[in-house]
């Protein structure tokens, strides 16, 4: 009968067909019409059934092809097929459901039309049934006919079962709920194929009485949670039969293993099953393919790495000699549960986590279901890690299957029940998506599709009808969000539950379990960490309640940095101090980024922690917009001044100003660590803070002196920054090099002026140098005329006389970086006018002076190096270190500043740039100098940040070197590499220094 007009294109579109015209034409195809003739009305029912599939267009066109193929194949029973399509709705739905979900399996049915029965008759087979069927396919053949080969027969029989699994999967009312069943069936089918391939290989290779052979499944097949398309991970084990020679038995078994792998993975006319991957075996691809049980055991006892034990967690005998498989398992499995007590377990785990999270190509990142943070592998890894940590003492956790293990972890209180449920749901969904994506073309992929058609099919497969492409993407997004918080949920929240009862009536982590978990996460002192957690979360206060909420997240951040314990301790101290301060709690709770910045910084830097503990309110800046931008000098000065003015007593006034300094240092430190402020801006910012403090100190000291005198001082004072201070290049641990200048007002005699200036400056140095909660500020005036023997301050005229009559070349060199930083502005201008001709001598310097500079430097290298310091790695005085680079540049300035205006700068890198631009230095040489200077400065800064104490050379202690290396941007665990890197850069710089500074003097 003819189709009714209602199947016009519009209706088909409404039903979900895209290419409605083609669909309409196909529905009138004789093959379909042939169905319609058999039973009235069934064509409509068929159309409706097609419309229920993931891809109605695909289902329809493949159906027509299948019917044609079945008609042509006398053994395909085309009338039975037609009857199935018209009769039992279940049979029909299975057939069209499969055709709409998978073009690859549709093609398979077209090639093997008689397999339609496997679709229609699909049921969940037992493992035994699956094995028997596949083994029969390779053994039960007539040996007289060579066609098909056993390998082809295996492939055909495998797909025959596969279409059955797919039929049940695609017609399930709730495929997400069914996921574990499907995954287990796929693993069973893989197992059956392994068994058949093994049988086949043993039969071919012969000598079956000489050896015993077993295949151990690993990974997802071992866990009985396989994908549609995936490598099958295995390990082989063999033993000589009694009385047989071990060596030749193993050699034969190796042949069997190779043949068996080939039987599964080789591409034949019938395609291939999947690659069999034996790389998880001892020694990986380098190791022998087959080993004895004892050999396996010895390897794991002596050599195995932590990840190998983690892999063993999934081991399951899958094919071959079952007794041998069991013997293997008995030999190695106990070691899995001891792995957590091995040396280096923590480091290994951290390295493994990094590997799991290692970035996925960014183009794929958003589409990845498997890799990256929060991907499927992350869930699996995290669950396994908890199994390793806690499964040692709790046997209930020893399941091979991810979802079962997750349930067991929740039941035992190792993971919160609600969190486990959420993750369980998310994991199933993501896996189901992965399955559906793979199913379409039977390709191994873990990427969400991008084409609308593919997304639409995926959405429809999950039952979305209105706007399937958008809905499925949205659903995936929301589940992925849940998984992204996996570490918080799985690792950290239960720790809180252990110290503070969160959900009444739920099992919770025992204190011992909590301690072993903290240790596994990288906390060096788990007992201490537990105490801090307890203190932070106990009680009924709002603070405790909020901290219970946020700490799981914070702990994750601490654990990712170099010093988790220190971070947690500092956080506790800050929290104790700020208590219930509303802005603090709000910041932690609402401003995710602020909390992260805070926790990471505390666990990275002892200096930052200390500043914050001393001035807890500084945490406020983390919540401010632009809080991490260094403030301009004028603004800092304004605040310091305001703070200082409010106090009568000079000491208190300076203490108040230094409070502002701590706050600013905290800002700079945090911005440096988290925002990558960069060396140059850190230098400027630290210089601004220092200059503002010196200015404030000068004002306070002046005020004190005037109060005591009862009259104005009658002098102008000036502080000139020298060295890095003058260059605007201060580091966290730099002393401040300065000169002091004064000038008497009219009517004040020189001696009085000198005495008063000296008094003020002495007071200034005392005030700033007083130990306090922030690092004290040493004002170092050793670069003044006559050095330590000279008066601490001089009048401008005295400087003039001195520089006209006595000045040595080193003083001119020191003046290169002189910059007024505090005091009277007119005096500053006059001073600069005075020194400019000294530091930029009109004709450069002569040979004698050149020799003088070189000699002084050489002597310094020999004499100033501290005892025991390493000449190669000392930042300041080492070869290729800071002073090497700076002296080289300063020499060029002395020689050429009179002719090259760009060299008239106090900035080291600025002068280097000018020298490069004018060709004084080649760009290669400049690069070597700059890189060494920057790395030395950065590493010195990083050392101070990490330890809170100055670090003068590349840290020798591996832990410190690692932490410092991370701050300068090396990956975790590069402590030794930092030393190697520094030495290389310094060596390159030194070669340039030898040429440019020492004039390539031959070594003799």
């Amino acid at each position: 009968m003819a189709l009714r007009p209602s199947s016009a294109p519009a209706r088909l579109v409404r039903l979900g067909f895209i290419e409605s015209e083609r669909a309409e034409r196909l529905l009138r195809d004789p093959q379909i019409l042939a169905l319609g003739v058999t039973e009235s009305g069934s064509a409509d029912a068929l159309t409706d059934a097609l419309a229920e599939t993931a891809d109605p267009d695909l289902a329809l066109v493949t159906l027509v092809r299948l019917l044609e193929a079945a008609e042509a194949d006398p053994e395909a029973d085309v009338s039975g097929l037609r009857a199935a399509l018209c009769g039992d709705p279940i049979s029909r739905d299975r057939l069209v459901g499969l055709l709409g979900a998978s073009s690859a399996l549709g093609d398979h049915l077209v090639t093997h039309p008689r397999h339609w029965r496997a679709v229609v008759d699909a049921r969940w087979l037992s493992t035994r049934e699956r094995i028997e069927a596949l083994v029969a396919a390779v053994t039960g053949r007539d040996p007289a006919t060579a066609d098909p080969t056993p390998d082809d027969a295996l492939r055909v029989a495998y797909r025959q079962q596969m279409v059955g699994i797919v039929a049940l999967d695609v017609t399930a009312p709730d495929p997400v709920a069914l996921l574990p069943t499907v995954a287990a069936a796929l693993a069973d089918l893989a197992q059956a194929a392994l068994e058949a391939a093994t049988t086949l290989a043993i039969a071919e290779i012969g000598d079956a009485d000489q050896y015993r052979f077993a295949v151990i499944g690993m990974g997802k097949s071992g866990g009985r949670e396989l994908n549609y398309v995936s490598d099958v991970d295995v390990i082989f084990v063999a033993e000589p039969a009694e009385g047989a020679d071990e060596e030749s038995a193993l050699a034969t078994a190796t042949k069997v293993a190779s043949r068996m792998m080939q039987a599964c993975s080789a591409s034949t006319p019938a395609g291939s099953l999947w690659p069999v991957d034996a790389a998880l075996r001892p020694e990986g691809k380098q190791g022998p393919l087959v080993r004895t049980v004892a050999s396996h055991r010895h390897y794991y006892e002596r050599w195995a790495k932590t990840w190998e034990f983690q892999a063993l967690l999934k081991a399951r005998p899958m094919a071959g000699d079952a007794d041998l498989g069991r013997a293997y398992l008995q030999a190695v499995q106990p070691m899995v549960w001891e792995a957590a007590s091995r040396e280096h377990f923590v480091e290994d785990v951290q390295a493994m986590r990094r590997r799991v999270e290692e970035h996925v190509p960014s183009a794929e990142a958003k589409r990845q279901l498997k890799l990256g943070p929060g991907g499927l592998r992350d869930v699996e890894f995290s669950v396994q890690l908890l199994q390793l940590v806690h499964g040692r003492s709790d046997e209930t956790l020893r399941s091979r299957t991810t979802l079962e293990a997750l349930t067991a972890l929740a039941a035992g209180g190792y993971v919160g029940r609600d969190d486990a449920a959420v993750l369980d749901k998310a994991y199933r969904l993501l896996r189901t998506l992965e399955h559906r994506i793979q199913l379409h073309r039977m390709r191994r992929t873990h990427l969400m599709p991008t084409a609308t058609g593919d997304l639409r099919r995926l959405g429809r497969a999950l039952g979305y009808r209105a706007d399937p492409a958008t809905e499925v993407a949205r659903r995936r997004e929301s589940e992925a969000r849940e998984v992204r918080q996996i570490h918080e949920k799985l690792f950290y929240r239960p720790l809180l539950a252990s110290v503070a009862r969160l959900t009444p009536g739920e099992a919770r982590l025992s204190p011992e379990a909590a301690r072993s978990r903290l240790a596994a996460l990288g906390f060096a002192d788990p007992a201490g960490a537990m105490r801090h957690l307890e203190a932070l979360t106990s009680g009924l206060s709002r603070t405790a309640a909020i901290q219970r909420q946020i700490l799981p997240v914070l702990l994750g951040w601490f654990a990712e940095e170099a010093a988790p314990d220190d971070g947690l301790l500092a956080f506790r101290q800050v929290s104790d101090a700020l208590g219930s301060t509303p802005w603090y709690l709000k910041m932690l709770r609402d401003e995710g980024r602020a909390a992260e910045i805070l926790s990471r910084s505390l666990a990275q830097s002892w200096l930052v922690s200390n500043l914050l503990v001393a001035t807890p309110t500084a945490a406020q800046i983390l919540g401010e917009p632009h809080g991490l931008e260094p403030k301009p000098r004028a603004q800092i000065l304004q605040r310091m001044r305001a703070a200082a003015t409010r106090k009568e007593d000079p000491d208190e006034a300076i203490a108040a100003a230094r409070g502002t300094r701590r706050r600013e240092l905290f800002r700079i430190g945090v911005a440096d660590l988290q925002d990558g402020l960069g060396l140059a801006r850190v230098g400027e910012a630290l210089t601004d803070v220092a200059a503002a403090l010196v200015q404030t100190g000068l004002e306070v000291a002046t005020r004190a002196a005037e109060t005591r005198l009862g009259e104005p001082l009658g002098i102008d004072l000036l502080v000139v920054g020298m060295g890095r201070f003058g260059g605007g290049e201060l580091g966290y641990s730099s002393d401040l090099d300065v000169l002091f200048v004064h000038r008497a007002h009219a009517g004040v005699d020189e001696a009085t002026a000198q005495a008063r200036a000296t008094e003020v400056i002495t007071e200034l140095r005392r005030l700033l140098g007083t130990p306090g909660a922030d690092p004290p500020v040493g004002l170092d005036a050793d670069l003044r005329p006559e050095g330590k023997a000279g008066p601490i301050t001089r009048s401008l005229e005295s400087y003039r006389t001195y520089y006209e009559r006595w000045s040595a070349t080193w003083e001119a060199q020191a003046l290169l970086r002189a910059t007024p930083v505090a005091g009277d502005e007119q005096l500053a201008a006059d001073f600069l006018e005075l020194i400019d001709p000294v530091r930029w001598p009109a004709d450069g310097i002569d040979e004698t002076q050149l020799r003088e500079v070189r000699r002084l430097k050489a002597r310094m290298e020999a004499e100033r190096m501290p005892r025991g310091a390493d000449r190669k790695t000392h930042f300041k005085l080492g070869q290729g270190g800071l002073s090497d680079v700076e002296w080289t540049i300063q020499l060029l300035q002395l020689q050429h500043a009179h002719e090259i205006p760009g060299l008239r700068t106090t900035s080291t890198l600025g002068a280097l740039q000018a020298a490069t631009a004018t060709g004084l230095v080649t760009s290669d040489d400049a690069q070597a100098l700059r890189e060494a200077w920057e790395l030395a400065s950065e590493t010195r800064n990083a050392g101070m940040l990490f330890r809170g104490r100055p670090v003068d050379s590349v840290p020798a202690d591996v832990r410190t070197a690692d932490a410092v290396g991370r701050i300068v941007g090396l990956p975790a665990g590069s402590g030794q590499e930092l030393a190697n890197l520094y030495r290389r850069k310094a060596r390159h710089a030194r070669q340039v220094v030898d040429r440019l500074f020492y004039g390539d003097v031959e070594r003799n």
Binding site: S295, H298, Y299, W303, R987
Partner: protein, 442 residues
């Protein structure tokens, strides 16, 4: 590896081994040994044996204060010293830091790292050294050779003959195959060729070889020395090394029909050796005395040249034997027997790989005896000399990024400092030459 492991443990019991010597090599190529009892072996395998690294030359400074020696069981051998009952076994060790990471100052590690880099490019390095040494009456005072034989001479009742037989037996007993042994050109001089093996095994074997040769000599009441130049008027002791790279089981140096059947890879490798030869000579010829051999004339190669069967060239391309594509190789003739084989092979490999990576052009071959050319001719032909002294060699090495990156900054630095000191100590001497020639006249 666990099979090796099993083997070690079984052998200890079966052969009544009471001591195991853990061997490693300091930066200058001196063998270091720690003896442990079998009971400690399990711990050594699992965690390594702790020792104070600062006491070892080149394992400098604080990092290395606590170090671990972790035995490599694949190197286990029973030492065949005569009459030692109960016996002694030995294994080579990797040196680790307390956190388990490989130490940057372990020269075995340097070679492993460089081999790994070659592996990344798809290459395995095979070497075959010809080690020369002298047998002297004793190790003190004026050296007196044990015989007066010459090249390939059969010396009747010669100590050397017995000596070689026993040494070879011992070498074979520790699993080192000997290819060839004969009397060399100078009185008392012998050569033993070790079989082709991968570079790491060869380097291990050289360390063992030197120890065994010295032991056997002691047993026979003579003294064996690997000093590069013992007699001013006789040739010195070199360690010519045949090198080839394999890609899988294919010799990457072979190309049918190419000149001397040398592939582009081989030519670029050679070009790398020649291009960087001056920089790494301090490593392959590390003693003041080494330069007396290099510049001693005869068959010693003092210039950066290559040639087919040219025995005065730094690199000799041996005659190709038809059908032997697998044995295509180049012979580097500068090395001497007293180098640190790990470091020497590492720099050779690194230079060769650099040549391959950068596609260096191989200069034309030198067919003449380089020694017979005049300075002017050499200059015209663009033939550069190798450094003339340890001093020049260290200076050249100092500016070599290739050597620094291969050795690691730490070893690089230590090596240079140590060699400069050696040069200074040497220069401090007033030699018999000066006394004989100058004292009467001045």
């Amino acid at each position: 590896m666990d099979r090796q492991q099993e083997f070690v443990l079984r052998t200890l019991e079966e052969r009544d081994i009471r001591f195991i010597r853990l061997w490693f090599t300091d930066v200058l190529g001196t063998l270091k040994s720690v003896a442990i009892a079998p009971a400690e072996l399990e711990g050594a395998f699992a965690e390594g044996i702790g020792f104070d690294g600062s006491a070892i030359e080149g394992f400098t400074r604080v990092y290395e204060a606590d170090m671990l020696a972790k035995p490599d069981p694949s190197t286990f051998q029973v030492l065949p010293w005569r009459g030692e009952r109960p016996g002694t076994g030995r294994m080579f060790c990797d040196i680790l830091l307390p956190d388990g990471s490989p130490s940057l100052s372990d020269s075995r590690q340097v070679l492993q790292r460089t081999l790994a880099r070659a592996a990344d490019m798809g290459f395995t390095m095979y070497t075959h050294p010809e080690v020369e040494f002298f047998l002297l009456e004793d190790g003190k005072g004026d050296p007196t050779p044990v015989d007066q034989g010459g090249y390939f001479d059969h010396v009747h009742n010669g100590t050397g003959h017995d000596f070689r037989r026993q040494a070879i037996q011992m070498l074979e007993a520790v699993g080192i195959s000997v290819e060839f042994s004969h009397h060399e050109g100078a009185p008392g001089q012998n050569e033993i060729d070790l079989r082709y093996a991968d570079a790491l095994s060869t380097a291990d074997n050289i360390m063992t070889f030197r120890t065994i040769v010295k032991e056997v000599a002691l047993e026979q009441g003579v003294y064996a020395t690997f000093m590069p130049k013992v007699f001013a008027d006789h040739p010195g002791s070199g360690m010519h090394t045949h090198i080839s790279l394999f890609e899988g089981d294919k010799n990457a140096f072979y190309e049918a029909g190419a000149p001397y059947q040398l592939s582009t890879t081989a030519r670029q490798f050679m070009a790398g050796l020649l291009h960087h030869g001056r920089e790494f000579t301090a490593v392959t010829n590390q003693w003041v005395n080494s330069y007396k051999r290099l510049w001693g004339g005869g068959e010693a190669p003092a210039h950066l040249t290559w040639g087919h069967n040219n025995r005065s060239a730094m690199i000799r391309v041996p005659m190709y034997k038809p059908g032997k594509s697998q044995s295509t190789r180049v012979e580097v003739r500068t090395l001497d027997s007293a180098c640190n084989p790990y470091l020497a092979y590492a720099v050779l490999l690194a230079a060769g790989l650099k040549g391959i990576e950068e596609g260096y052009e191989l200069p034309p071959e030198t067919e003449d005896d380089v020694w017979s050319l005049s300075d002017g001719e050499r200059r015209a032909m663009g033939i550069k000399p190798l450094p003339a002294s340890l001093s020049e060699a260290t200076e050249l090495m100092e500016n070599s990024d290739l050597v620094a990156e291969t050795l690691g900054e730490q070893i690089f630095d230590f090596f240079l400092r140590n060699k400069r000191r050696e040069w200074e100590d040497y220069r401090h001497q007033v030699t018999p030459f000066e006394l004989q020639r100058l004292l009467p006249r001045l």
